[in-house]
Amino acid sequence: MYEKDFLKQLFHKIYTIRIFETECIKLYRQGLIRGYFHPYVGEEATAVGVCSALAEDDYIISTHRGHGHCIARGAQIDRMVAELLGKKTGYCSGLGGSMHIADVQAGNLGANGIVGGGIPIGVGAALGISIRKEKKVVAIFFSDGAANNGVFAESLNLAAIWNLPAIFLLENNHYAVSTPIEQSSRNQNLYERATGYGVHALAVDGNNVIEVFEQTKDARQMCIKGKGPVLIEAKTYRHGGHHVNDPGAYMPKDRLDYFKSKDPVTIAKKHLKEQGKMSESEIEKIEKEVETTMERAIDFAKESPELSFAEFNQMVMGY
């Protein structure tokens, strides 16, 4: 059994990610956010489950689909919206945008637009922990597409031979853009690849926040004891296309419906009701609060200034 407060916190985070994404998608459609935007809708429980099992001074490293990781790790959503809008008050002064949010204070080592790019960097951070003999871990987020890139194999092997405190968090959402894993991997249990490198590995239901939390907690313990790395494959699914402008026409309706019926938000709510004994109206209160915070975040971002030409120039002339 879990404490009511803990379950509430999980739901609060999951719902915050959901609202952040759905509201920002609207801003994108209004032309206020430019470039590419990869929503995390449908995958929220993975980030929240993982980050809730981490300690304050652990690290995460994120991906192009990284808003959920940031929020789960405690980022302020007002500064995130500002970043997406390219504003000076954003986490990277509006220079990084959706795909490059780094939140140093929260131990978020950054996201980047190169698929797989974060995996060896996360391994390096874990090596730093190991050399300094600290009791910390790095959670390395990446998805199935990245697992087909050579850098995954190299990183896994390095982490294995050096027993690094790294949790490889393979968010298997079954797609790399339009390419389904049935087409990109003969064995669709991607976690089994890690076994070949001598790495402890398992799969969890990525839409069930409690399951993800429990497995990450155990993985963290193993890493702290020097028995790392661990690979966790969280099976999940996008609720839409690859990015906001991708209708995702290639996603079979029955699969999508199946995963929508296992919506991370609904599951977290169920935990809250059944185990946390929370009433519908109490839950609604949380939802309202999240929505209001998001409204304020959007106002803050909209009212924030952009970098001026002079500031841009200064950047051009050297940091």
Binding site: G35, G86, V115, N148, V151, Y250
Partner: protein, 325 residues
Amino acid sequence: MARKSMIQAINEALHQKMEDDETVVVLGEDVGIDGGVFRATLGLIDKFGESRVMDTPLAESSIVGAAIGMAINGLKPVAEIQFLGFIYQGFDQILCHAARYLHRSQGRYSIPMVVRAPYGAGVKALEHHSESTEAHFAHIPGLTVVIPSTPKDAKGLLISSIEHPGPVIYLEPKRLYRYKKEEVPEEIYRTPIGKAETVREGADITLVGWGGMIPVMQEAAEHVDNEGVDAEVIDLRTILPFDVETITKSVEKTGRLVIVHEAPRSFGVGAEIAAIVGERNLLHLLAPIQRVTGYDIIPPLSKLEDYNYPNSERVVKAIHKTMEF
């Protein structure tokens, strides 16, 4: 003849070369069912099947490496890299192998392959999604680097690239994919590699650029035309090997040169052009050569993109400076 956009012209070239030559195959991420993220490969998989149109896993190194392997074994692969900024793992295969095979095998293995990639600004994204790194490739002996700026050239140059016996890096200015439509011949035709095109004749000053910068330069040329300055605009079309003749002839005539590129200024292709003109045309020059380029920074996000990339205003300024020298 029908009017087509650049993306349609590229798509047509692929369809026709695959029909024309059964050794032509296409591979890359999402090039099959999705038709490519920019729709360049639309319809190919329906017509030619999965054995000739291959959706690959996310593995740039293997995409390029496999293309090399197919090329030394009788096929003519056209590999797509989703954005030029995602090529770096494949860059290893290009630099270390594709460009060297012919030399290494003392002429026994040529590599008839094309690597296509969208490059440069235009989607208001940042970093890898908007960069213009043609200079990386132009610095590799053994490669051919091609960049069209019109639908017509896009088709003719892609056909020439597919038929070329060596490895070609074919870069597509994504900001021009749907910029305009023009008459594109229905049949297979070839636009010569290594030949620049003078898209506007002029007597007073030479503007040299390529790809996404051509409309910007044309706009600048029209602008100064009203002021009585007659600018010649040269579309380089092939970066490596570039058409030295056309540039030097033009500078002999005008005595003034402005080079325009999106890429960062330092060590860019513009520097090479300036060096060659310096070597060959010193006594023809009436003013120092100017470069209008992106800054030496990582491509920034959305609004700042407009500050970074050359626009016609900046080109006009450089023309003024050159004329007033």
